[in-house]
């Protein structure tokens, strides 16, 4: 808010000018623009920035140029992925202030957060709902990238990082589920670990990393570290790769028309409105439909109705077929490896698959996966 000085008054230095002068003072001592450009790596602004120019100039330029408006479908999917992740990071950090990652204290500390800490219930539910929304958004984004054929050159890296984000989100969800150490999450984690262990090579390695197939005292801290440090770190790395690629190949366009642009002011306002409505939506879900957790985990009592997490049900269903366990695991591994490398596979087939055929194949694979998951549910129930 730069108000011009009123006529007749002493020339007072407005606050904004003071701030710019302070910034100039700092810029003589360190490269502030470089620090600012750090934001571009994570997509807050993804136009390239010349880090040798003073920050004020850079900001002025950013503010005056038209911005490709990505706060709209379909690019909003990517935007939401980033915003939701930031929300999860913030709510997760706040939860970590009170959470004790040991088997004896995990449940109690979670219960303290939910029941006794002021607004703790809100932080916890925002984190829980946020994770579901994040998974949904990442998944929808992958589907949309697939449907619009946006895995073809030169967007292979974007496709790869998008799929990797999906895998990472699943792993973050799996490691995070166990943390409340309540009776359902404990046993669901054990079931999940069983399912994972059937995958050859990768399975036993993962089971080793998390401390073994049976959940012991030492497993929980490992899950915690994976969930809060390692996997989010990898996720951020993938986000960084996404934006690095985006800077090179640009936002996707499904037609030949020039991209819609908007002013920086409008874009900023759009972002703020989206974030606000997203936050409000999460708060609503948190208040009206809270997740509940039941009783502390008991390693000696398995409750009824324990299932592996929903994304593992398909593999679980295939595991029920009476063949040696590594066969369905190997199939799953092949499929999971094939998806991010889809462009390479398509190249190998030498263009026999046109867009329509690929779409049909993709829908078929998805349908198979859904059917297997449903079978998994039915097998569990019986």
């Amino acid at each position: 808010m730069s108000a011009s000085p009123k006529p007749g008054s002493k020339p007072a230095v407005p606050l904004s000018e003071r701030l710019w002068r302070a910034l100039a003072w700092l810029e003589q001592r360190m490269n502030v623009t470089e620090l600012f450009s750090f934001l571009t790596h994570f997509g807050v602004i993804y136009t390239p920035i010349d880090t040798q120019r003073p920050l004020r100039e850079v900001l002025r330029e950013i503010g005056s140029k038209p911005v490709v408006s990505y706060a709209r479908w379909p690019h909003i999917l990517g935007l939401l992925t980033a915003i939701l992740f930031a929300l999860q990071a913030i709510s997760g950090t706040l939860l970590a202030f009170y959470y004790h990652p040991t088997a004896t204290m995990a449940y109690e500390s979670t219960r303290t957060i939910v029941r006794d800490v002021p607004l703790g219930w809100l932080v916890h539910q925002v984190h829980a709902w946020g994770s579901s929304l994040l998974m949904a958004v990442v998944f929808v984004r992958i589907v949309r990238l697939f449907w619009d054929g946006l895995y073809r050159a030169p967007r292979e890296v974007l496709w790869f990082s998008g799929v990797m984000l999906g895998y990472l989100v699943i792993q973050i969800d799996f490691t995070g589920r166990l943390l409340p150490w309540d009776i359902h999450s404990y046993w669901a984690a054990i079931r999940g670990l069983e399912v994972i262990s059937t995958v050859p090579v990768v399975g036993p390695v993962l089971a080793f990393v998390v401390g073994g197939k049976t959940l012991s005292q030492d497993s929980l801290p490992r899950f915690y570290v994976l969930h809060s440090l390692v996997l989010p770190g990898l996720y951020l790395a993938m986000v960084w790769v996404t934006f690095a690629s985006m800077r090179r190949v640009g936002l996707s366009r499904t037609d030949e028309a020039p991209p819609a642009t908007t002013t920086f002011r409008k874009h900023l306002a759009d972002l703020a409105i989206i974030m606000l409505l997203l936050f409000a939506g999460l708060v609503t879900l948190a208040t009206l439909f809270p997740f509940h957790f039941h009783g502390a985990a008991d390693p000696y009592a398995t409750p009824k109705g324990v299932q592996p997490p929903w994304y593992m049900l398909a593999l679980y269903a295939v595991d029920q077929v009476p063949v040696p366990g590594w066969i369905p695991g190997l199939l799953a591994l092949i499929v999971c490896l094939a998806i991010p490398f889809l462009p390479a596979i398509l190249k190998r087939t030498g263009g026999r698959f046109d867009e329509r055929r690929v779409r049909i194949a993709g829908v078929a694979v998805f349908a198979v996966w859904v059917v297997l998951s449903v079978i998994g549910v039915i097998v569990e129930r019986s």
């Binding site: 706060a71 709209r72 202030f97 303290t112 703790g120 642009t261 908007t262 002013t263 759009d270």
Partner: protein, 156 residues
């Protein structure tokens, strides 16, 4: 919401209703500022640790009188308020805080001198909680002891 270039549908042209615009600007700024205030307040509320549940009536049952020997002090580890229970003779039992009033170290009982001594800076207290020597300036809180049917109760 995310429109491309449109005709600005914003406020009236500059100059005609300047005061109203300014007022609205201040109001908007204030409203948005409320988010900051609310957020800071919520954060502060969240980060302040929840009160520890106080035990009912704050009366702690220490044990049987017969198990307390004369001249021996027992340290009772009662939450954040540990205290000593000391039987001075056949019929008298005293209780006082075990937390030094200097830097909150936990005191030890000195049998020979019949007092409490702090291992951190050698502060000393007598059996009434009065500081005798060393850095502590404030007396130790003493607690009411009642003996009923052979059981010792202390009100902290």
């Amino acid at each position: 919401m995310a429109e491309t270039e449109t005709t600005p549908a914003g406020g009236p042209p500059a100059g005609s209703h300047g005061d109203r615009r300014d007022f609205l600007k201040w109001l908007s700024a204030g409203f948005l500022g409320l988010w900051a205030v609310g957020g800071a307040g919520a954060l502060a509320a969240y980060l302040s640790p929840p009160k520890e549940a106080e035990s009912s009536d704050n009366v702690v049952r220490v044990g049987r009188l017969a198990d307390l020997h004369v001249g021996v002090a027992q340290l009772i580890r009662h939450g954040v308020k540990p205290f000593f229970v000391l039987r001075t003779d056949a019929t008298n039992v005293v209780a006082m805080s075990a937390v030094c009033t200097h830097m909150r170290c936990i005191l030890n009982y000195d049998r020979e001198r019949k007092g409490l001594v702090c291992p951190c800076h050698d502060g000393r207290f007598d059996l009434n909680g009065n500081p005798l020597s060393g850095p502590p300036r404030r007396a130790l809180p003493t607690y009411e002891v009642s003996v009923r049917a052979g059981e010792v109760f202390v009100r902290v």
